[in-house]
C-alpha cells in the first residue's frame, strides 16, 4: 500500500470502467490459492469486474495463501510451500500472474461489521465465486439462499475438491495433486509396473479453474436468456474424472485395468500401433526431443531425414504393427541419432521433413519461442512490488473482442477506497470508521 509511486504510475493503476465482452459482470471473488484465482483470471481478462475479498485481520493471517509463496523478483528460490517470516505479501510473482486485471479489498470477516459490509458489497455483485474448505461460507451466513436475497438471481460458483451437496467425501481436504490421484490422472501416467510419474504440477488446479470459468460463462448465458441464476457446483475430482477421456469408457465398457505390467505405458500410445513415439535425448545434458511417427509416410520421412540408416531399412519396420513390435529397438537407435543434435534445430528439421517433432521446452525456451512471440501470448505490465513482469496471456484470439487487461495484480487492499466508496456507497465518515476499527 505504501510503496512510493509516481502520480502517473498511480493513475495507471486506478480502476476504470471496463470494456470487453464481460463488461457489466461484477464478481465478489472469495477465491484463493490456485484453482479459484485461475477460475476468475480469464473472466477478469475478458472485462468482468472481479473484486477479490481478502482478510483484513491483524497480520492478514488468512489472506490468499499465494501472496506468501516466496517467488519474488531476484529472491533466492525456495520451495513453493515454504513460508518466510516478514515476507512482503505484495511481492509474490506467483500471485501477480494469477490476479492481474482484478481489484482487491480487505474485510475482517470475523467481525460482525465486516460481514455486514461484505453483504452490502454482494448486493452490488451478480456473481459470487469461492473455493474455501467446506463450511466456511456457511459460517459467515453466506448460503445460496442468503446470497440470492442479497442479489436476486445471483450466480454462486462453488469450487471444491469433492463437490457440495452430498456424498461421503464432501468434507475431505484436497489440493491439485490429491485431486489428480483420486481422479485417476496420476495412475495413468508413467512407466509400467512401478511408481507412476503423474504430473509435475497441479494440473487439476488449472483445469478446475478453467472449467469453473466455463461453468460461470454458461450460467451467465442462461441467466441472460431466462433471468435465472443459481449455484454452479464444481468438484475438481469430477472435473478430473470427466477428463480421463476414452480410458474411462475402456473401464465402463470393457472392464480395462490401468495397472500392472502393461499400463501405464510410459510414452508409448496405449491404443494405437504406432512407433517410434517417445522422448529422445538431445546433445546437451537433460535436453530432449519428442518424436511421434503416426503413419507409414511419416516413418519414410524420418528415415530420409536420418539419411536412410541400415537399421531402419528392414521391411518389417514398414508397417505400424511391425514398428510397434520393435519399438524398444527403434527407440535405442533413434536415441543414438538424436543425441548428436540440438533439440531445437532437429525439431525444425524434422518438421520440415514432415515428421511430428518438437523440442522439450523449458520456460527459458518458451520465453524466446518464435511462435508464442508471433502470437503475442506473453505481455508485460509493471507492478509496484514485483517490477515490470511478463504475464501468461490469453490463449484465445477473438476477431472482434478486445482484451481489456489493464493492470497487474492488486496490492493488499489497494481498491478499498474505490470499491467501498464508489461501489458500495460508503460515506467518507463510514469508511474512516471501518478503517480505524480494523474492519477493512
Amino acid at each position: 500500500m505504501d510503496k512510493p509511486q509516481t502520480t502517473a504510475a498511480a493513475d495507471s493503476r486506478r480502476p476504470r470502467p471496463r470494456g470487453g465482452p464481460l463488461a457489466g459482470v461484477r464478481i465478489a471473488d472469495f477465491t484463493w490459492v490456485a484453482a479459484g484465482p485461475l477460475g476468475t483470471r480469464f473472466l477478469a481478462d475478458m472485462g468482468a469486474e472481479v473484486i477479490k475479498i481478502e482478510d483484513a485481520s491483524p497480520g492478514h493471517v488468512r489472506i490468499d495463501h499465494i501472496r506468501r509463496v516466496p517467488i519474488t523478483r531476484g529472491g533466492k528460490p525456495m520451495p513453493g510451500g515454504h513460508e518466510v517470516a516478514g515476507f512482503d505479501i505484495d511481492a509474490s510473482g506467483f500471485y501477480n500472474n494469477y490476479n492481474r486485471s482484478k481489484l482487491a479489498v480487505t474485510i475482517d470477516m470475523t467481525k460482525p461489521e465486516g460481514r455486514e459490509l461484505c453483504e452490502r458489497l454482494i448486493t452490488q455483485c451478480n456473481v459470487v465465486v469461492e473455493n474455501f474448505a467446506p463450511g466456511v461460507m456457511e459460517r459467515w451466513g453466506l448460503t445460496p439462499e442468503r446470497l440470492n436475497e442479497l442479489s436476486p438471481e445471483i450466480i454462486f460458483a462453488r469450487m471444491s475438491g469433492f463437490g457440495h451437496e452430498g456424498g461421503p467425501y464432501e468434507m475431505y481436504r484436497s489440493y491439485g495433486p490429491v485431486v489428480q490421484a483420486i481422479a485417476g490422472l496420476s495412475q495413468i501416467s508413467g512407466l509400467p509396473g512401478g511408481m507412476p510419474s503423474g504430473w509435475g504440477m497441479s494440473y487439476m488446479d488449472n483445469q478446475a479453474g478453467y472449467q469453473a470459468t466455463n461453468g460461470i460463462l454458461a450460467a451467465i448465458y442462461h441467466r441472460n436468456a431466462t433471468g435465472k441464476g443459481g449455484v454452479v457446483d464444481l468438484s475438481s475430482v469430477e472435473a478430473g474424472v470427466s477428463l480421463l477421456g476414452p480410458k474411462i469408457l475402456d473401464v465402463t465398457v470393457n472392464d480395462a485395468v490401468h495397472r500392472g505390467d502393461r499400463l501405464p505405458c510410459g510414452n508409448d500410445l496405449p491404443d494405437q500401433a504406432v512407433a517410434p513415439h517417445g522422448v529422445y535425448p538431445a546433445n546437451r545434458e537433460d535436453e530432449w526431443i519428442a518424436i511421434a511417427v503416426m503413419d507409414d509416410q511419416q516413418w519414410e520421412n524420418l528415415k530420409a531425414a536420418m539419411g536412410e540408416p541400415a537399421w531402419a531399412a528392414g521391411p518389417s519396420l514398414a508397417t505400424g504393427e511391425g514398428r510397434h513390435a520393435a519399438r524398444r529397438e527403434i527407440d535405442r537407435h533413434l536415441g543414438e541419432w538424436t543425441k548428436g543434435h540440438d533439440k531445437h534445430e532437429l525439431g525444425h528439421r524434422l518438421q520440415a521433413a514432415g515428421v511430428p517433432a518438437m523440442a522439450v521446452q523449458s520456460e527459458a525456451d518458451k520465453e524466446v519461442d518464435p511462435q508464442l512471440e508471433h502470437r503475442g501470448l506473453y505481455f508485460k505490465l509493471d507492478h509496484p512490488a514485483c517490477g515490470p513482469s511478463r504475464f501468461e496471456g490469453v490463449p484465445v484470439k477473438f476477431s472482434r473482442t478486445g482484451r481489456p487487461i489493464w493492470r497487474s495484480a492488486p496490492l493488499v487492499g489497494e481498491d478499498n477506497d474505490y470499491v467501498f466508496k464508489g461501489i458500495v456507497g460508503l460515506s467518507d465518515e463510514e469508511y474512516d470508521t471501518l478503517r480505524q476499527s480494523g474492519v477493512i
Binding site: 483445469q207 431466462t226 449455484v231 454452479v232 465398457v253 527459458a364
Partner: protein, 391 residues
C-alpha cells in the same frame, strides 16, 4: 445433488456444425452438446479418423466401435459430406446458414485446397462464430507444424516438468490426451464469450484457439520461478517440479498401491493429526516427541520421519490410508486407477455417472465437470453411427 430446475440447458436451440477429427475440436463440440446445443458432425464418407483410434468396444475394431469416437462424439449427430467436391462444400454451407458455431480444426495449409476462407465465411454468415481449434493457431511460423498430444506437451512445457527423479529416464507424457483437453477447455471458454457477445448483438466472429498457447499458460509455478528468479525447475517423481529437490510424495501401501501425501512444513494441523493417528496405533516410533512440532527440526530430520511414515503406510491399504487420513482432515489421496472409480461411493452418491443407451447395451459415461441448480445438462446420448443423420 443440486436439484435440476425446470430450464433446458443454456445452448438448447443453438446449432453447431463440427468439422473436427481430433480430440481438441471434438471435445469442444461435445462440451457445447452437453450444454444443450445441437451438434452436427460432418464426416468424410469413409468416417472421421477418430473412428479408427482405439480403445475399441467389445474387441471389435470397426468404425462403429471406437471408444475414442464414443467418448468425444456423444450427443452429436453425424452427416457425411465429401468436402473435396463442390456438392459436399455446398452441403456444409447450407448447414451453416442457420448455425451459431462452426467448430473446425484444419491447420492453415489445408484451408486453401478445401476452399475454406474464414474472411469470406464471416461475410457470408455474419451471425456465425467460427471456433478454430488447431495445434498452433491460424498464424505464425509454426502454424502448419504437425502435432500430437505428446508433441504439444513438449512445446508447451509440461514434458519438461513431468517424469521421474532419475533424469536418465526421459520426461513422461501425462496420460489421457490432456494436451488436447486443455485446448478444448479454452475453446469452450472462447465459444462462450463469443456466444455472449452474439446474444447481445447477434453477430459472430472468428475465435482462434491455439493448443500451444493454451498449454504455454498452464505450467503453474514453473513460469513464476523462471520469470521472477530465472530459476529453472527440475522434474521430480509425481510431484511438483521445483528449483530444488523436494521430499518424495508417493508412498507404497500394503496392497502394493500408492498414496500421495506431502507433509507441508507450514501446516501444523495435518502433521499433528497424522502423528496422533500413528500414535493411536502404536506406530509413532518417537515422532510424537515435541521436538518434531518445530518445522525447522522437521525439515532437518525429514528422512527419519519419512522412514517411519513408509513403515506406517505399509501396514494399510491405499484406500485405508486415504479414508483414514481424510477422516482426520489430512489431505491424502490414493492413486486410483480409472477402474476404481465406477465403484467409488462418493461419485455414486453424487449421481455423477450418466448412462447412454447403446445399440449393444448401456454405456456409462462420466458426468460433466459442473452441476447447475438452474438447469440440467443435456441427457447423455450415444455417439452417432457414421451418417446416421444424413437427410
Amino acid at each position: 445433488m443440486a436439484q435440476a430446475g425446470p430450464s433446458a440447458p443454456p445452448f438448447r436451440g443453438l446449432k453447431v456444425i463440427e468439422l473436427s477429427q481430433d480430440p481438441g475440436g471434438e471435445m469442444a463440440g461435445r462440451y457445447l452438446a452437453d450444454l444443450g446445443a445441437e451438434v452436427i458432425k460432418v464426416e468424410p464418407p469413409e468416417g472421421a479418423g477418430s473412428r479408427r483410434v482405439g480403445p475399441f468396444a467389445y474387441g471389435r475394431t470397426d468404425a462403429e466401435h471406437s471408444l475414442n469416437f464414443w467418448f468425444y462424439n456423444a450427443n452429436k449427430k453425424s452427416v457425411t459430406a465429401d468436402l473435396a467436391t463442390p456438392a459436399g462444400m455446398a452441403q456444409v454451407r447450407s448447414l451453416l446458414s442457420d448455425a451459431a458455431v462452426l467448430v473446425v480444426s484444419y491447420q492453415p495449409k489445408h484451408l486453401g485446397p478445401l476452399g475454406l476462407d474464414y474472411d469470406e465465411l464471416q461475410r457470408a454468415f455474419p451471425k456465425l462464430i467460427i471456433l478454430s481449434v488447431t495445434p498452433y493457431g491460424l498464424t505464425g511460423p509454426w502454424a502448419d507444424y504437425l502435432s500430437t498430444d505428446l508433441i504439444a506437451f513438449a512445446g508447451g512445457g509440461q514434458l519438461h516438468i513431468s517424469g521421474y527423479d532419475d533424469h536418465s529416464i526421459p520426461p513422461m507424457r501425462p496420460g489421457g490426451n490432456q494436451a488436447y483437453h486443455t485446448a478444448a477447455t479454452f475453446a469452450l471458454a472462447g465459444a462462450e464469450v463469443a456466444l455472449l457477445q452474439r446474444q447481445a448483438d447477434g453477430l459472430g466472429q472468428l475465435v482462434d484457439v491455439s493448443m500451444h498457447d493454451c498449454l504455454a499458460v498452464t505450467v503453474e509455478m514453473a513460469f513464476a520461478y523462471w520469470e521472477y528468479q530465472q530459476a529453472p525447475v527440475r522434474r521430480q517423481t509425481c510431484r511438483h517440479a521445483q528449483p530444488m529437490i523436494t521430499h518424495c510424495a508417493l508412498f507404497e501401501c500394503a496392497d502394493g498401491r500408492y498414496i500421495y501425501s506431502v507433509v507441508r512444513l507450514a501446516d501444523q494441523k495435518p502433521f499433528k493429526a497424522l502423528i496422533s493417528w500413528m500414535a493411536e496405533e502404536g506406530m509413532a516410533a518417537g515422532l510424537d516427541d515435541e521436538k518434531y512440532l518445530n518445522p525447522q527440526y522437521r525439515q532437518e530430520h525429514f528422512y527419519e520421519i519419512q522412514t517411519v511414515l513408509e513403515c506406517f503406510y505399509l501396514t494399510k491399504t491405499a484406500d485405508e490410508v486415504f479414508k483414514g487420513g481424510q477422516d482426520r482432515l489430512i489431505p491424502i489421496g490414493a492413486l486410483y486407477g480409472p477402474e476404481d472409480l465406477p465403484a467409488d461411493e462418493h461419485l455414486a452418491a453424487r449421481g455423477f455417472w450418466k448412462t447412454a443407451e447403446g445399440e449393444e447395451g448401456p454405456i456409462t459415461y462420466p458426468g460433466a465437470p459442473y452441476v447447475f441448480s438452474a438447469f440440467a445438462m443435456a441427457k447423455r446420448v450415444r455417439a452417432p453411427r457414421l451418417g446416421e443423420h444424413n437427410p
